[in-house]
Amino acid sequence: MNDDVKAGVIDFERPIIELEKKIHELKNFTVDERIDLDREIAIMQDKLDKLKSDTYANLTSWQRVQVSRHPTRPYFLDYVRLITSDFIELHGDRCFGDDKALLGGLAKIDGHKVLILGHQKGRDIKENVLRNFGCAHPEGYRKALRLMKLAEKHNLPIISLIDTPGAYPGIGAEERGQAESIARNLLEMSSIKVPILVYVIGEGGSGGALGIGVGDVVIVMENAYYSVISPEGCAAILWKDRAKAADAAQVLKLTAKELKELDLIDEILDEPLGGAHRDHEKAAVFLKSSILTNLKKLLLVSPDERVRIRYEKIRRIGSFEEK
């Protein structure tokens, strides 16, 4: 396996990476040879920034999907580490097991005590086996609900970070009621009294995403997607060919920008230039600032009013003609 494949380099990123390499080499050269090339480097840096912003402004839907799945993209636990302190992970659904693909715990964000939960993917094969590629089982959704009820009882706002290709399709998942575990969460989350802030940080795969996705604000990161079906699944239905996923991504209107235009989400959360995977720290700063801004607004509203507004918000989603 070559380095590019290992690092998950996407084709359209190649020119960016080449230029980055050149700048890096040039910097090393100036240090080794004690020559001042600052001006040259600055010019190349400008060129790089322009290349990045041009490239990223014009990505196709499928390219966004690829970025959302980038193997070095920050995951749930990266954000927990970067934006919270005193995180205590809480385990188990008290019925069957502890899902390692959907995690949750108590944490502090700038002094706010919160419950933070989300899907967790793995970086390599071994970790992905543990995390089941971010595909939760019913016990994951039931753990999430248990923790959300705990948060409601102790007046802790809920931060939900979505990043899943979908809920797991397997025998055990069906035996233990995958559908019921998601449906239950939809019903319960609609009336939980504390603020619920939902962020799609990577993949927003269908029911598995929505299962922790009902909230007061729903925000999708710039290069994340949120869709009723995976592009591969859609391609299989439309053209009997999963390889046509790029075409399917286009017709599904699943990017943050399209969803915002359709008024299906509240906000798009900017990512660092070139995508969140290029700068975890900066991506985390953006996320944290968005959480704090939205949390402040939501805390101004009384719990009953918040639930009423949340219902109205879900209630009005739909597009139809009435005679």
């Binding site: 399709p169 009336s191 599904l252 003609e321």
Partner: protein
Amino acid sequence: MSWFGFPRWKLTKKRSMPEGIWSKCTGCGKLIYTKKLEETLYVCPECGHHIPLTAQRRIDYLIDKGTFCEDPWRLRANDPLNFTGTKPYKEKLKADQKKTGLDDAVITGSGKVLGYGVRIGVTDSNFIMGSMGSVVGEKLTRMIEKAIDERRPVLIISGSGGGARMYEGLYSLMQMAKTCAALGLLRQANLPFISILTNPTMAGVMASFASVGDVIVAEPKALIGFTGPRVIEQTIRQKLPEGFQRSEFLLEHGMIDIIVERSELKARIASLLDYLSP
């Protein structure tokens, strides 16, 4: 069966599917005298297979004659994504509207079950696989909200292989949250919701309103689940056991309350309503 006694505008005639003297059982494949099937409520006298029904027929079988009143809202999908795959969504809609005589995949209204007043929604699997887009989500939600106003129990009969309707993208996914939120209000109002599952009830429909019944009733041998069996087989690369995701399997795993034969359904629902009605 007759369509008389319906305080309903138009369409009722068009809604019945054309049928010959003989009908083929979709279970065993045998040819059955159609008159006979009407007597058995379309349960095959040879193999006991519960042949799928149109939404209208399910209403006729469950609701007392002359009591059903369909909700007056006439909602139609408007293709918010301008979706084109192999065939434009608009054309699919038109074709299924023509085929079924329905505006979309659900009929909602009010009526009585052996005298017990209910609000009811029935999905029709003949209309884009009974999938839920904006119209299905909106009509069910309005129906539930009306039930709360009128303090009536809610019945929903589901038959959907399609789940959340792909052609409306995230609008469809959000109908799952919308219908469940409405059922949350119904629960707060202490009103019962009986969910009736028929073959098939899958994916986004099963992962929303169909799963949160106070009581969940299923027809025998209905396919019920989250992920379709083909996709599971492809994912885990093994054959699924016989009876997987069938009603009996769900009962065994604690996921539904009762399996009821079609001929018993009306009496059984009435008994449940006797216990649960406000």
